[in-house]
Every structure is written in C-alpha cells, then in structure tokens.
Symmetry: C2
Subunit: 352 residues, 2 copies
DNA sequence: TTGTATGCGTTATCAA
DNA sequence: TTGATAACGCATACAA
C-alpha cells in the first residue's frame, strides 16, 4: 500500500477535503471499482497491465484504503485488542512490544487497554475494545470477570491469555508455570538452609499469577514440614519504592525472616535498597530473591537471585496463537514458556 | 453502553453467529432503527419512556455498537494513533499509559505503533495507522520523515508531538525544553568545578531530543570557553547494559573525563555499575549524571543526579491538545512541561 | 419526538 | 478476467 498520502479518519477540518475513494481511482485508471479493489487485495486475479495502471492511479491520487469501510465489508478489523495491567511493569511493556511486532508483520494493528489490577475495570476495557472492533483479545492471566467471559463466548472472538500457563486454562494460553517457579525459588532458599522465609507480593485475590506462585511457595515449604508464617506475608506490588516500604514493614515484624522472596524484581531491588539503608547486610543478614529476570536485576549490588523468563517470547507465542485462531486451523496448543532459576549474589546460606 | 455481551469484529468462527444490529433492537423495542440510534447517541432527543424500552432491549439482546459501521457513518473513528520509539523506555510507557487514560475517559481508544529510532519506519507505522483509521496522531519529537509530514497535511488529521517543546515546532507540541535541560545539567557540573565533561547519548541524527540536549551541553561549555572533546562523546541508547558498555569505552579514552552526563537515567545507572566494577569511585573519581528522573535513579547508590520531568504530565497535556483539536476550538497552544535539576550524590566537585 | 430514505467506502456475489 | 449490484451496520437530513 505504497506510502500513500490521503486517508480517511480525520475530521474534515476546515477545508473539508473529500476522501479519495476507490471510485476516484477507478475513474482515473479507466476501470471499475471492483477491479481496483481486486488489484489491491487479490492482485493475481487481475491482468498485469490493468493492475499496473491501477497501481499508477493509486499512487498518483495517494489513495489509502478506508479502514472502517473495509472492516465493515469484510467483517474483520485487522485489529487485535490487548489488555494489560500496566505498562509500568517491564514485562508487560515487553509483551506489548513483542505482540505489536509479530502481529504488525501479519497485517494486524494493536488496540491497547490498561486494566490496573481490577478485574471489573478489565471487563470495561474489553467492552470498549470490542465495540471498537477487534478480531481477537489478548489478556494477562487466567482470572477474569464473569461479564468478560460472557462477552467473549457470545461474540465468539478468540481469546488468548498470557503469563500463566496451566492445563485447565479456560482459553489457549502462553506463559510460565508460576507454581513451579515459586516452588523453585523457595526450594533454592531451603537448600541453602533457610527456614524463616517471607514473601513480598501483590494481593493474590487480584492477581492469579501471584496466587499460583504463592501456592508454589507454600507447597515447597510444606514438603519440608514448614509453613509461611502469617507475619511473613507482606503485600506490595510492582515498583521499587513499594518494595522498599514493604521490606521496612517486614523488618519490623517478629519472627524476623532470614530470606525474602519478592514476586517482582523491582520490588526485590527496593527491598535490597531498604536493607542497605538500615545497614542490614544482603545476603549476610537476610537473603533476597526476585522474580522475572529483568536486566537490572543482574546489575545491582549484590546481583539479585531471580526466576527469569522471556516476556518477549510470551508475546511472540501469543501472537502465533492469535494468528492460528484467525488465519490458521485453530488447533495450535497452549505453550509453556520456560523459566529458569538465576542464582546470584543476593541469596546465600543464613548466618549462624 | 451497559456491559453488553454480543459484539462484532470476530471472525464468525464455526457457528457463524450473526451480529446483533440496531435493527434487532428496534424490532424488539417496537421502534425504528433511528430511534434506537438516537437513544444511544443523543438520549435527550428521545422521550424517556421510549428510551427506557430501547435500553431494555439493548441489554436484553446484549447489543454492542459496531465500531466500523459507526466510524463509516460518522466519518470519525474515536481512535487516536500513538507512535513511540519503544515501550522499553519508562518515559514512553508512562506517556502511553497517561494518554490512554485521558483519551479513554473522553471515549477514544489508542492504536499503538512502535518506530524504533528509524524515521522511515515511523512513517510506515503512520501509514498503517492511518489506513486503520485514526482521528489524530501523537508522535515523539519534532523530527519526522517527509512522507509522514505529507500524509499528515494531506489527510488533515491533527498531529501532536511530545517530549520536545520548541517555539518553531511544526505541530502543536508538549514537552520539555531539552536544550535548557542539557544546559542546566552541564552548568551544574561546571559550577562544581568540572572542565572535562563527557556525554553518553543516542545518535543525534536519529533523535532530535538528544540533539537539542547536546546543543545545550555545547552551549553551556562554550559560555565558559570550553568545548566537548571529540573523545568525550560516546553513543549509547536506553538500556543500563548499554550504559555500562559505553562507560567502559569512555574510561579507556584520553583525556579521561571528570564528569559524564548521560541522556537517560538507565544509561547513567549502567555507567555507575561499570565504575563500581572497575573500582572507579562515583563521585570521587568521576561524577555521573542522568536524565529523566525515573524513580530508580533515586534509589541507587549513590543516588543519581538527574534532570527530572513528568512523562505522565506530557501525556495528559498531549491528550488535552488532541481533544482540543478534535472536539474543542483547536486553539489550545503548545505547552512546555517543566524540568528540574535533581542534585544528588552521584555528582560532586572533581578530586584534586 | 419519531420514522423514512439515503449515504458512508469496501468487498463479495453473480453474470457477462 | 471484468463489471454491475447488493450487502455491511450505523448516522443523519428531511419529512411527518
């Protein structure tokens, strides 16, 4: 679609310039509108010489197809809705960027919505995107509002979920096994000899990934006859500042933990900062672990032990699933993206 | 538009369920289609009792307006295109999130495009968004490809640019005065007594904000009879890892700088990490300053001196400008968002 | 205040 | 291979 010049969509500002239509191109090329349409959408169905003159007319007039008209006629929008909690989390920014690249290459655009951590709000966003016209919906996690689920089934548009892989997922999904990941992190600490392990995490009621990780944490503890002490669970989501505050809170509690798992790397970084501010040695006095494996976690001092995975991979695979549902045979299965324990300097055996 | 249930847009999957249309609602409510349309778009133009029964039918059928049809009829898409270099940069993620919130509240959706740092690619993205149908376009910076500019003027859709405020901007813009900000940072270092000042920055040919900052840097130096030594300009964009590598490069050069300004906080953080790895004291042996004022720059050790500003404010004001162009009188002027020098521990007077 | 008729720009169906 | 023509679903000018 050549670097066209005139398009639709804008308010006709003052000059009220008319949209260049298929008709205009047809007239200039001396053919019918349908031939122009075909020359653009199914070039092989039209004689080469005709196609050439059409293309010439197109670029001469700077014709750009009218998206809405096309969507109306084709019953398809070439647009995918993506709803994430927030772009401030590196992993979601990576997801969106990756999705956009993959879907863009296949001719789809991305319509973006933010949901915070509120499932009701997520459903509202979905309604908005749906009425805007989307061919598929990409969500984060597997817990969603009833009204959203109803909408999805009623409209029949494909839904793909991300960041949480599980066999019983309601939609095709691509993500990590959060429970196994949570377990791996705690097993690592247990192996080091820790017994008083705390967790800094989002409210599990609003975050099913966190809930799964917590299940993994509890499971690992239970397997060794231990449990998460109620005083050892502190809520705190996302930002380093929050991690700092949560760590401050935790350090004031009894019994004091010898290790802390954070469900986000930034929170872990904040926790370490707070420890330094209080002259609490990491990992001397307390071990700290993060989650996600963002680049920064490797550069801090000490470098942060974490469970790493690729949000970019999740985006790419999610795009594959979406395209399979839209243009393929719709049989592509959910995919588990691997995670890996990155053992670094912020965790060590507990002091004597 | 109640939490509807049935919408358009999806491929009709197998069952090929038909879209619920205005007509269906009209039939059920016992009125004409136009009355239904009015009940939804101009409720005050219809008798209360009628409106009620329409609304009832709407929710009964789970009617959701068909975006494309609506866009076609109204010649307006209720969609704003936003093209940014990358979501991996905190400031752009903040911009998008802020824009989305403000525009969403006004009934607009955000269609997102990523351009990297390539103006040609940005223009391609613009073409894609334009043909998807957007009512306005939000860009980053004031330097753009000719073809994009041509498209913009030909379509007549409003364009608003962000992050670079300048009087001679080709479109209404909202951002900081990058030149003044660059100058402020270097003045601070000069006041501390530095004379060998280096810069870690993106290639100015592809980044007009960086070019302006560099102009500010050079200006401040020139005012004191100094200049940027050619060996003291190292390219490196965005990520902490990149800042680390750039700093490594810089530390190997002659003459060695006593202070380094980075055009991004993450790069500054990376630079500090590299210094620590080499046992180069910050700010003892070399001062390091960042740019943007992301939260993390305050938490590092040492905390990073930076020029801070609010990308969220930029987003909010950009949304205001867009809405003014679309629904207002189109007279709202460009806005300069304030920046502030945050003097922190990473900069100090040079050693003897 | 409500209904009728028409247009929005494309694609798809069907003849030619 | 090409050209009429009928959808596609909604908004609006105009008539009632």
């Amino acid at each position: 679609m050549g670097v066209g010049t005139t398009g639709q969509g804008g308010r006709m500002s003052k000059g009220s310039r008319r949209q260049v239509t298929l008709e205009d191109v047809a007239r200039l090329a001396g053919v019918s509108a349908s031939t122009v349409s075909r020359s653009l959408s199914m070039p092989h169905m039209v004689r080469a010489s005709v196609r050439e003159s059409v293309l010439w007319a197109v670029s001469r007039l700077g014709y750009v197809p009218h998206g809405a008209a096309r969507a109306l006629a084709r019953r398809r929008n070439a647009t995918i809705g993506v709803i994430i909690p927030s772009l401030r989390f590196t992993v979601f920014a990576d997801l969106v960027e990756s999705l956009q690249a993959e879907l863009g290459a296949a001719g789809y655009s991305v319509l973006l919505g933010h949901a915070g951590s509120d499932l009701r709000y997520e459903a509202d966003q979905a309604t908005a995107l749906l009425s805007r016209g989307i061919d598929a919906l990409v969500l984060v996690g597997n817990a969603h509002d009833q009204s959203l689920e109803r909408m999805a089934t009623n409209t029949g548009i494909p839904v793909v979920t991300t960041f949480d892989y599980r066999l019983d997922a309601p939609y095709p999904c691509v993500g990590i096994d959060n429970q196994a990941a949570g377990r791996a992190l705690v097993d690592h600490l247990l192996d080091l000899g820790h017994t008083r392990i705390a967790a800094l995490m989002p409210d599990e009621r609003f975050n099913d990934r966190a809930a799964r990780r917590l299940a993994g944490v509890r499971g690992a503890l239970a397997d060794r006859g231990l449990a998460l002490h109620p005083q050892h669970l502190v809520l705190g989501d996302g930002a380093a500042e929050v991690g700092r505050a949560a760590m401050a809170e935790l350090l004031g509690r009894e019994p004091s933990p010898s290790a802390v798992v954070c469900f986000s790397d930034l929170v872990a970084i904040g926790a370490v900062v707070e420890c330094r501010a209080r002259a609490v040695s990491v990992p001397g006095a307390v071990s700290v672990a993060g989650f996600s494996g963002i680049g920064l976690a490797e550069l801090t001092h000490p470098a942060i032990t974490t469970v790493s995975f690729s949000a970019v991979d999740i985006g790419r695979e999610a795009a594959r699933l979406v395209l399979d549902r839209l243009d393929g045979d719709g049989q592509a299965p959910s995919v588990e993206v691997p995670h890996r324990l990155e053992q670094r300097a912020s965790t060590a055996a507990p002091g004597p």
